[in-house]
Amino acid sequence: MTMSSSFTRIEEKVHAGERLDFEDGCALFLEPDLLRLGSLANWVREQRHGDRTYFNVNMRFEATNVCEASCSFCAFAKLEEGAPEAHTTTHEEAWKELAEFPDPRLSELHMVNGLHPHLPFEWYEELLRGWKRVRPAVHLKCFTGVEIHFFASKFQLSYEQVLTRLKAAGLGSLPGGGGEILHPDVRRRIATDKASGAEYLAAHRAAHKLGVPSNCTMLYGHIETFEHRVDHLLQLRALQDETAGFQCFIPLAFHNENNALRKLPEPTAVDSLRTLAASRLLLDNFEHVKAYWVSMGIATAQLGLRFGADDLDGTIIHESIYHSAGSRVPMALAREELIRLIREAGRVPVERDTTYGVIEELPRAVVPEAALKVRDRMANKRALAVMSGS
């Protein structure tokens, strides 16, 4: 079957509501016509959400970058306390940062940490409790599946015990980080000394069973193949079939600065758009697919809203993990800027909380007079300085 006829078959399956399989997934990544792929993903996205596009007002927090794992793609972790740039916050610093966060609209604190070899489990519980004391309405989206696995191993607890205690301390949901690539052939080469793919999924399964929703991710564009990406997505889809606990999928673009994979090129904008679209089409049981602007860049994330994504993430405020690896996007985006990006992509901005409850649905952009736009365009076109052969 040629690529084009293969894609025609995929289009038919999608329109008929049939599930795509592994072979279809590989064909999505190999489809040369990016706009055709994007249009199909956009159709699915609009069937689910119309023009509604979600964002939130959130802040990032990293309590410690000390980490006993040595993932080859990571530029954030420091192996031990006392190493240059190693940092572990105090409870007081962490609570103060949240208490003094100036925006009353803040609805989420998103924390991801290194796997600190010495902090006791009670330290994390107290961190959450303190945050709940100073700002009880803020949702705590904290600890990746990898961290949950680390706590269980280190403190001789089951996933259920870890999660039950953290939930009692204020945990609301788990972020999706740490998924990387689930396939063992890749994972053993880039993330050998932390949770395996199966353990990452097991931690999320346990969370879902306790009523703790979570997100999930895929780090793409390094040593993996398209087949590994499809395998990863299908593993996530299978768990979602079982638990329905994932809220959102977030593809994360590999960055190549200050890490052991620095000789690899980073994924391009076209690859990011292709990955978003393929994810939207394969993950037929996921309500949301996010174009995370910190990971793929602001311009590509905005375009992603036409390639299957329905969420831009949030204001972030001080992200360290991607910026350590060379991300050149700002540390934060103002709420107004997120709204502008969504509107100028022709979408309707919806401010949400972490679990996709609607806080405010904003009006779509006012469309300027088409005739005026055309007149401007034609005038500008005539004024182009470089116009050869005309």
Partner: protein, 177 residues
């Protein structure tokens, strides 16, 4: 053009414009009114169809000096408001493709658009990249014009296209390493 795009064109009442564009004629100002605010991917689909029909999959990389050749128009992003977002810029680029005769090339500047958007521009109607390969601003990752040119060829290959005069390199032809 895929089924979704074809259907969307029909639904928007724009199907007959595709025939006109594929015969090489640019849209008139009146027709531009009709497509100016339709879905971004629809405009892009039309522009990309024209690009493929008249310029194929080859991408030219030119210096600013070489641009003064003939049969080309350079996308001028000042047609958009200051601080325009990527989606706005690419819409204007696609509209430039549609209002330019099919046989005229559409070029984008690496300097002003940046690598990220310039690569994406190749699926929104552009067939030529213009930039100074000696400029560190253009291609920050590698040193030297030769390395920068190779980096650029890789970006083009990863968008599913090939640089004119360059034999495709299997190692960079797709984004899966």
């Amino acid at each position: 053009m895929g089924r979704v795009l074809s259907r969307a064109l029909e639904a928007a009442g724009l199907a007959e414009l595709a025939g006109q564009l594929l015969s090489g004629d640019a849209l008139t100002a009146e027709q531009l009114v009709r497509v100016g605010d339709v879905d971004l991917l629809l405009v892009a689909g039309l522009a990309d169809t024209v690009r493929a029909r008249f310029h194929g999959d080859e991408v030219q990389i030119l210096s600013s000096r070489e641009l003064q050749g003939g049969g080309r128009v350079l996308f001028d992003q000042t047609v958009t408001a200051a601080g325009a977002t990527g989606a706005e810029l690419l819409r204007e680029l696609a509209l430039l493709r549609l209002t330019t005769p099919g046989n005229v090339s559409v070029a984008v500047s690496l300097e002003t658009l940046g690598l990220e958007l310039a690569q994406t521009a190749l699926v929104f109607g552009a067939d030529t990249l213009v930039g100074d390969l000696g400029s560190s601003r253009t291609l920050p990752l590698l040193d030297g014009p030769t390395a920068r040119r190779r980096e650029l060829e890789g970006l083009v290959a990863r968008s599913g296209r090939r640089v004119r005069g360059v034999t495709p390199d299997a190692s960079i032809a797709e984004s899966a390493p």
